[in-house]
């Protein structure tokens, strides 16, 4: 049984008990505990159920590589699933909920899968749920989805705050163990800006546990002194609880700092996402111990030897009272020795090696420990807890020599350097045969903008396993990093430590060596996804030779731990089965993030109203106050309609349309883009970007224009006003201002850079109101100050002046077909002018009334009548395409054969034969049949409204050869039971002569 020891525990403070709940039960730990150490201290080893077979599982590791001990932490709006208990810091009131079990962790119905495991081999889902096809959707998938998955997602919006920062450093050192400390010290000595980060809450990494002497000091004291020395320097930034998640191109490092995860509810953001640019990145990320693949290696109580040692030294927790050590190397002996020295029982050390001779082996023997060489384990007894292990010869089929009673197993399969960050941006690996591990190849690092390597691996992460060589290597790397970013390297002394030589490791990837199918099907590689030795071997037999394919087929390494423990063992088994050397099989790709990054941190402040800030016009507060209905247009929020008290939105639109036709309305059109084009060559540029001629426009006159892309498709439209000889004001669509401005700049800068032209987007500098309707002139005259008569300000002219005390520019242009004045005023005075216009009797109308008014006139809206494949000719707007100009953007494109021939869809008006039918937006017209017998689509509805002016529905549409089919009635099958019939008519439904606007 796991238990808290009476003494010790470097990180815990026994004066401060901390109470918490696990699956509703109240338990207690100490300040400094992790959730895993507190649970173990309280006697709990069962911490999860595996994904596929629902097997009972306990913790295996002591860090972020933990695959089994996953909990949902918190509740309600602060619930977060899949949190690793081994790195979850304990706090008062913590609520932990186990996952993937029903009804309870101890009794789980899904565990029946384990009994069926023989029937659930690798690729089971691919092979089984194929026929009948309908069953997948209705039967298989719902059942599988309910039983699959680990934690459940939170149901409420995240109650916490997150923030993001950008930072720049010469050298970023990842890993706060002794290598990171030594590297940072050297890197910073000459003045370089250095950041040193550590994922845990404490510094020193494994040195605290294994306690070598450094520079004559106990490791913990040396670490404390080094941290203090670095903190005292002005050029070093230290952050613990900081997970470097990714090393991306050109020295871009993404990291997450956990600010209040361990103190929820504090008045601070929960996490901070760091976006860092570093000249050099030093990865001092240490190594992760490998499990051993033996039958029963997943029973709760089987743990990594280092994890048992960590829990003992850091938290004074022992997973068991009687622990058997299974190892293929010397380092594992440290666990047996530590357990023995803590007064715990170690019945046997099972060493697969034949006869290793080294100081550690001698030390173990001197303590009176029983050591069995050349032996392995062929089984573990117990279901929810280790009860005994079965000893066998390594080189055999697993005949049991002896059963040894115990309640924990420490396993050590050697170490794998953490090469993830090195690999994220393309750093290559080499194979270290002696230690059976992949290490960064210093000759093939990830390269930066200048082509030079920008990541340097240091210490254990570079494959140095002994303390002395770790320190020497890290110091040299730190100095080199500073030099490479052009800083003076330090001349600090290199820290020294003695390390005793260790006997070589014996790589054993499957044990016993000749294990039969029964045993291989109980030796787990990936604990979380339940991938066993037998699954990888099956994949190899079925032809999966690539490690990337085997990974996906078996799901090896695809769980939330991303195979930190399982990948090397898995590919070694694959290599073994294929009869290839391990380096030839290679690794799967290491992809960011190294450890999970919360969505909250990625999102930062960009949520709610800050996700995509709304652009508001000067009249927005007024509209809000009168209860207007809004709609989004691009990033803007515009008034859709202004219903009066008791009036429906639909009724308001009808009233607004009729008001503009019969009296006078006012619309806020400030969102239309306004771009100033100025310079001696301004006219020349506009002749190139508009399809029609703009250079001939007289000052004070307006002209509607179309812009095309080089393809010849309509891109934007609007009215151009010539303000003076050298200055044009180009109006664009609401959503198009930035796009059109960018388009002008692109051509100006990259193609016609000889033209002398400036452009400026002044959209937000001016408010612009449309005063439209037969009584519009009266409103402007009431304001007074300008001649707005038909003669003084004729249709399609523009004038500057003072109107009612407002400095304005008035354009006589009309998008409604009525007498219309567009009045632009500096934005600061927009709201004031708006209220004056309303006070003078102009009735506010919104975008929907505007749309109806323009549709009655057959005016297009870019984005409704066009979709990026429509030419001006298709729109019946050939009059706006110059035949005289030698060139404009789109001229050559429009000459392409398939844009000029018959068969193009053309803009027409559509009148339903039965006036009670209103065509739905987007409805398709059909005529005849296709070769496959189905109806042939010949076009679609682009805009459709019930016209208040005409008292019947109207629609615009793009119909194949529509202009030649005037009067024809075509079919719109709008549902399986209803086909509407509509007559093709002119797109202009009202006042075809245009007499109303030119008065």
């Amino acid at each position: 049984m796991s238990a808290r020891l009476p003494r010790g525990g470097l990180l815990i403070d026994r004066q401060f008990p901390v109470s918490f709940r696990a699956d509703g039960r109240k338990l207690s730990g100490y300040r400094g505990d992790t959730l895993a150490s507190a649970l173990m201290g309280a006697g709990e080893m069962l911490m999860g159920r595996s994904f596929k077979y629902h097997r009972p599982r306990g913790p295996v590791a002591s860090g972020p590589e933990e695959p089994n001990a996953l909990y949902g932490i918190g509740s309600g709006a602060r619930f977060e699933p899949n949190q690793r208990a081994t790195v979850t810091e304990l706090f008062e009131g913590l609520e932990a909920r186990s996952q993937n079990r029903w009804p309870s962790l101890a009794f789980d119905v899904g565990a029946v899968n384990a009994k069926l495991s023989r029937l659930l081999p690798a690729g089971f889902y691919y092979k089984t749920f194929i026929h009948p096809r309908a069953a997948w959707k209705h039967l298989f998938e719902p059942v599988i989805r309910r039983s699959a998955g680990l934690g459940r997602p939170p149901r409420e919006p995240d109650a916490d705050r997150y923030e993001q920062v950008h930072a720049f450093f010469d050298v970023m050192v990842v890993g706060g163990g002794i290598a990171g400390l030594a590297a940072a010290r050297q890197a910073a000595a000459g003045g370089a800006r250095v950041m040193l980060v550590e994922q845990a809450a404490h510094w020193g990494g494994r040195a605290l546990v294994d306690g070598p002497e450094i520079d004559g000091l106990p490791a913990a004291d040396w670490v404390a002194a080094e941290v203090a020395a670095l903190a005292a320097r002005g050029n070093v930034t230290l952050r613990s609880r900081f997970a470097a998640a990714a090393v991306n191109d050109h020295g871009y490092v993404l990291g997450v700092e956990r600010l209040t995860d361990h103190a929820p509810g504090a008045e601070a953001p929960r996490q901070r996402l760091w976006r860092i640019r570093a000249g050099r990145v030093v990865t001092a990320t240490g190594a992760i111990e490998r499990p051993l693949s033996f039958p029963g290696n997943d029973v709760p109580g089987v743990m990594l030897a280092s994890a048992i040692r960590d829990h003992l030294a850091l938290y004074a927790v022992s997973p068991g009272a009687r622990t058997v050590l299974l190892t293929n190397n010397d380092d594992g002996y440290r666990t047996a020795i530590a357990l023995k020295k803590a007064g715990l029982d170690v019945p046997a050390i099972v060493d697969v090696r034949a006869n290793p001779s080294s100081q550690l082996v001698a030390d173990a023997r001197a303590l009176g420990l029983r050591v069995e060489f050349g032996r392995a384990l062929s089984g573990v007894k117990g279901v929810k807890r280790v009860e005994a292990v079965q000893l066998c010869a390594l080189a055999g089929q697993g005949s049991v020599i002896e059963e040894i009673a115990c309640d924990a197993v420490a396993m050590s399969g050697g170490w794998s350097p953490v090469v993830h960050l090195w690999s994220h941006s393309g750093g290559k690996l080499g194979w270290d045969e002696a230690n059976a591990m992949f290490i960064p190849d210093p000759d093939r690092p990830p390269t930066g903008a200048d082509g030079a390597g920008f990541v340097l691996a240091a210490g254990t992460a570079a494959g140095k396993l002994l303390t002395g060589e770790v320190l020497a290597d890290a110091a040299a790397i730190g100095r080199r990093a500073a030099e490479e970013v052009g800083q003076r390297p330090g001349d600090e002394a290199v820290p020294r430590a003695d390390s005793t030589a260790e006997a070589p490791l014996l790589p054993v990837w499957i044990m016993p060596l000749h294990a039969g199918p029964e045993l291989r099907a109980r030796a787990f590689l990936d604990y979380q996804n339940d991938v066993k030795v037998s699954d990888v071997q099956l994949a190899a037999r079925e032809g999966y030779e690539s490690v990337e394919h085997t990974k996906r087929y078996t799901t090896l390494g695809m769980a939330t731990d991303q195979g930190k423990l399982s990948n090397i063992n898995g590919l070694a088994v694959l290599a073994d089965t294929l009869g290839q050397p391990i380096p030839q099989v290679g690794t799967t790709t290491f992809r960011p993030p190294y450890t999970p990054v919360s969505f909250g941190a990625i999102t930062g402040m960009a949520r709610g109203p800050l996700f995509r800030p709304v652009r508001r016009t000067t009249t927005d507060p007024w509209a809000e106050a009168v209860g207007a209905v809004f709609e989004p247009v691009g990033d803007w929020r515009r008034v859709y309609a202004c219903p009066r008290a008791g009036e429906s939105t639909e009724d308001a639109v009808v009233r607004e349309v009729l008001t503009v036709r019969e009296a006078v309305g006012v619309l806020d059109a400030s969102t239309l883009g306004k771009i100033i084009v100025k310079g001696p060559d301004a006219g020349k540029l506009l002749d190139l970007v508009y399809t029609n001629v703009m250079s001939t426009l007289k000052p004070g006159r307006c002209r509607y224009g179309l812009m095309c892309t080089e393809n010849g498709f309509v891109f934007d439209d609007g009215v151009v006003v010539r303000l003076d000889a050298g200055t044009f004001l180009c109006h664009t669509t609401t959503g198009g201002a930035e796009r059109v401005h960018g388009h002008l700049e692109e051509w100006l800068q990259t193609e016609w850079w000889d033209l002398q032209v400036y452009t400026a987007n002044v959209t937000e500098q001016f408010a612009q109101f449309v005063v439209a309707g037969p009584k519009a002139r009266g409103v402007l005259e009431a304001l007074g100050g300008m001649d707005v008569s038909r003669e003084g300000l004729p249709f399609l002219s523009s004038a500057e002046g003072v109107l009612g005390g407002f400095p304005v520019r008035v354009h006589r242009i009309s998008f409604s077909g009525e007498l219309s004045f567009e009045v632009a005023v500096p934005a600061a005075r927009g709201a004031e002018l708006w209220e004056r216009l309303i006070g003078l009797g102009a009735v506010p109308y919104g975008t929907e009334a505007m749309h109806v008014l323009r549709a009655e006139k057959g005016f297009i809206i870019v984005g409704d009548e066009t979709d990026g494949t429509v030419t001006p000719h298709d729109l019946g707007m050939s009059w706006a395409v110059s035949k005289k100009k030698p060139d404009f953007i789109g001229k050559r494109g429009l000459e392409r054969s398939y844009l000029v021939g018959a068969g193009r869809k053309q803009l027409v008006g559509l009148e339903t034969v039965d006036p009670s039918d209103q065509l739905p937006d987007g409805a398709h017209a059909t005529s005849g049949t296709r070769p496959d017998g189905r109806p042939r689509a010949i076009g679609h509805v682009t805009s459709t409204y019930r016209s208040p002016t005409l008292g019947r529905p109207i629609a615009l549409g793009l119909i194949e050869d529509g202009l030649a089919r005037m009067g024809e009635v075509i079919d719109f099958p709008v549902s399986s039971s209803l086909t509407m019939h509509a007559r093709i008519v002119s797109p202009c439904f009202f006042d075809k002569e245009g007499s109303r606007q030119d008065v």
């Binding site: 191109d249 050109h250 871009y252 393309g426 200048d450 050559r892």
Partner: protein
């Protein structure tokens, strides 16, 4: 996330400050050009594994377009230069040859 230096304002910035604009040094074919030429100008783009000349705009900076010579495989940036040229300048070609001996610009 690349780092690029804008040759117009001299700022070295994050990729998010810039906007990519595709292949550089396209020759525009306008009215009077053959169908084949025009189609190639509109649609045919190089997609090399290696040295590539690209258009970028310092969108959240000075707003200017410029050109970059970059390796698409290693992301090395050989240099950035003015958009107001129709071919890479000699000093950029020299930088590329220094880093990629034997490299020759394709037509």
């Amino acid at each position: 996330m690349l780092i690029l230096t804008c040759p117009c304002c001299g700022v070295t910035g994050e990729e998010t400050e810039f906007h990519p604009g595709g292949e550089a040094h396209l020759k525009r074919f306008g009215p009077g050009s053959e169908d084949g030429e025009f189609t190639a100008y509109l649609f045919d783009r190089k997609n090399p594994r290696g040295v590539h000349f690209e258009r970028w705009r310092h969108a959240f900076g000075c707003g200017k377009w410029f050109h970059a010579a970059r390796c698409t495989a290693t992301l090395e940036v050989f240099g950035t230069y003015s958009a107001r040229v129709s071919a890479p300048p000699e000093e950029i070609l020299a930088m590329i040859r220094a880093r990629r001996p034997g490299w020759e610009a394709s037509a």
